[in-house]
C-alpha cells in the first residue's frame, strides 16, 4: 500500500514550482519552468520565414516544437545527443498540445519554432516542457487564445497521485497492494480557462473510474500551475511597462 508519498507530499500536491520568462536573450521569447527536480527551458524563434518554400501556406503559419534532453539530464546513463524516437514523438505531442491555443492564421507563410531543452529531469519532462513552451510563446508575443498548463497524474497502488516524480514512476508495488497493478502515468495538458484537454497520454494500468478521477485531479492541479504562469508573465510585462525593449 502506498500510504505516504516518498517525498512527503500530499497525494494531490504539486512539487515546488519556479518559473521565469525572458531567460534566453537571443530568442524572441523564452521561459524556464522548474517543477521539483525537473527543469525545462523553452525558447521561441519566429514567426520567421518557412523553408523549404513549398511548405508555406498563405492562409496560416505552422508551429514546430522540438523536445530535447541534454545528454547529462537523464536519471541514469548518458543520453545520446540528437533526436531519437522518443524525443520525436514527444515533440509531436507537445506541438499538438499547444496548437489549439495558437492563432496560426495570424502568421501566414511563417513558422514559429519552439525549442525545449532539459538540463536535469526527474519525471514529468514533457509536462514541464509544455508549461515552459506556453510561457515562452506568450513572452514572444505570439498571438494566442490562452495559456496551456500541464501535469502528470497517475495511480500508485490504490492512490491517485498528482505530479509523479521518478521514484513514483518507477515504484514497484509491494506485496499487499490491492490492485497489484503497475503504476499508471498520465501526462495531461489542459487549457485551464475552458478545461479543454490538449494532451492526454498514459502508460501502466488503470480502471476507468480511477482514470476519470485522475483527470479531475489534473484539472485542479493545472489551475495552480496557471496561477504561477500568469504571475511570472504579469511580473515581466509590468516591469517592462513603458520601456521599449523590442
Amino acid at each position: 500500500m502506498y500510504e505516504k508519498r516518498f517525498d512527503g507530499r500530499e497525494f494531490d500536491e504539486l512539487r515546488p514550482i519556479e518559473a521565469k520568462v525572458g531567460i534566453i536573450k537571443r530568442a524572441n521569447g523564452s521561459a524556464m519552468f522548474k517543477i521539483g527536480d525537473t527543469i525545462a527551458y523553452a525558447a521561441v524563434y519566429g514567426p520567421r520565414d518557412l523553408y523549404p518554400k513549398f511548405l508555406q501556406n498563405p492562409k496560416k503559419g505552422i508551429l514546430r516544437c522540438n523536445y530535447n534532453m541534454m545528454p547529462f539530464s537523464g536519471t541514469g546513463d548518458r543520453i545520446r545527443p540528437g533526436p531519437n524516437r522518443r524525443a520525436r514523438e514527444i515533440s509531436l505531442v507537445i506541438e499538438k498540445a499547444l496548437l489549439p491555443v495558437v492563432n496560426l492564421e495570424d502568421f501566414p507563410n511563417s513558422v514559429v519554432d519552439v525549442f525545449i531543452e532539459f538540463p536535469q529531469t526527474d519525471a514529468g519532462s514533457r509536462c514541464a516542457g509544455i508549461c515552459a513552451a506556453s510561457l515562452a510563446l506568450a513572452d514572444a508575443g505570439i498571438s494566442m487564445k490562452d495559456l496551456v498548463s500541464s501535469v502528470a497524474v497517475g495511480m500508485v497502488d490504490d492512490k491517485i497521485v498528482v505530479d509523479l516524480n521518478y521514484n513514483e514512476e518507477a515504484y514497484d508495488h509491494v506485496e499487499g497492494g490491492i490492485e497489484n497493478a503497475p503504476v499508471s502515468d498520465i501526462p495531461i495538458a489542459i487549457i485551464p480557462s475552458t478545461g479543454e484537454i490538449t494532451l492526454l497520454q498514459m502508460d501502466g494500468q488503470i480502471k476507468k473510474e480511477d482514470l476519470f478521477k485522475a483527470i479531475q485531479a489534473a484539472k485542479k492541479a493545472s489551475k495552480k500551475i496557471l496561477e504561477v504562469q500568469r504571475k511570472v508573465l504579469k511580473e515581466k510585462f509590468t516591469a517592462e511597462n513603458g520601456d521599449d525593449n523590442e
Binding site: 530568442a27 541534454m70 547529462f72 539530464s73 538540463p119 536535469q120
Partner: protein
Amino acid sequence: MIMNNENTKKHILKYLSQGIRFDGRKLSDYRNISIEFDVSKSAEGSAKVKIGGTEVIAGVKMAIEKPYPDTPDEGMLMVNVELLPLSNPDFESGPPDVRSIELARVIDRGIRESKTINNKDLCVVPGEKVWSVMIDICTLNDEGNLLDCAGLAAIAAVVNARFPKYEDDKVDYKVKTDKKLPLSKVPIPVTVIKINDYFIVDPLIEEEKYIDVRLTVTSTEEGLICALQKGGDSALLDTEVEKMIELGLEKSKELRSHLKGE
C-alpha cells in the same frame, strides 16, 4: 536586434581605433564572468558559465565500459558540443555541424593533451572495465565567444564531478561518492581575435562576424600551452602569433580565478 552590414564593421573599427568596444570594454577585457556549479542533479558533475550574455551549461556523465584494445588500462574521455537551436536563431537541430565539431575538438584537445585526467586512474579491471568520462556542453544563449565559455564550462564540470557509486558490477547513478576525478591540471582556452590590426578577446557576436583571424590558446596553471587552434580566413605573422599567445596566457589567469568556488 543585431545588425550586420558594412557600416557595422566601420563602427567596430572606429571604436577599436579609440581603444574601446561597443559595450565600453577595453580591447583585452572580458565581459563579466560567473560560474555556477551543480546545475544538473542528474549529471555526475555540472556547471553553468556566463560570459556577459553568453551562457553555456556543461555536464559530465560517467559509465563503466570496455577499454579500447590498444589501451587496456586507460579510461576514456569524450567531449561533445551541442549548439542548441534554442540559443541562436542560426543554429539548427540535427547532426552536429562543423562549428560544433571544431569547438568540441579544440576543447577535447585541451583536456586530453594537458593530461588533465590521468586515464590510468580510471581503470577498474585492466582489459575489461574502465570509466568513461563524457563531457557534454550545451549552449543556452549565444552572444559571442562560445568557445571560451564552453571551454571554461567543460573544465568547471570536470572539477565538479564526483564518481557515482559502483558496486557488484553496477553503477548506481542515484548515489554520488565523495571521490573526485583524478585531475592533475586545469586547462583553460582563451581565444584571441585579430580584426584589422587590433587584437581583442571575448568578441561580441557583432564582432565575430568581422574577424580576420582567431587563435585559441589553451594553457595550464603552470603556463604550459596544451592546445592551439587558428581560425579565420587571413594569415598571421610570427610576431602576431607571439603577441596573441602572450595575451592568451595572460587572460587565462583571469578566467582560472573564477574556478575557485569549487
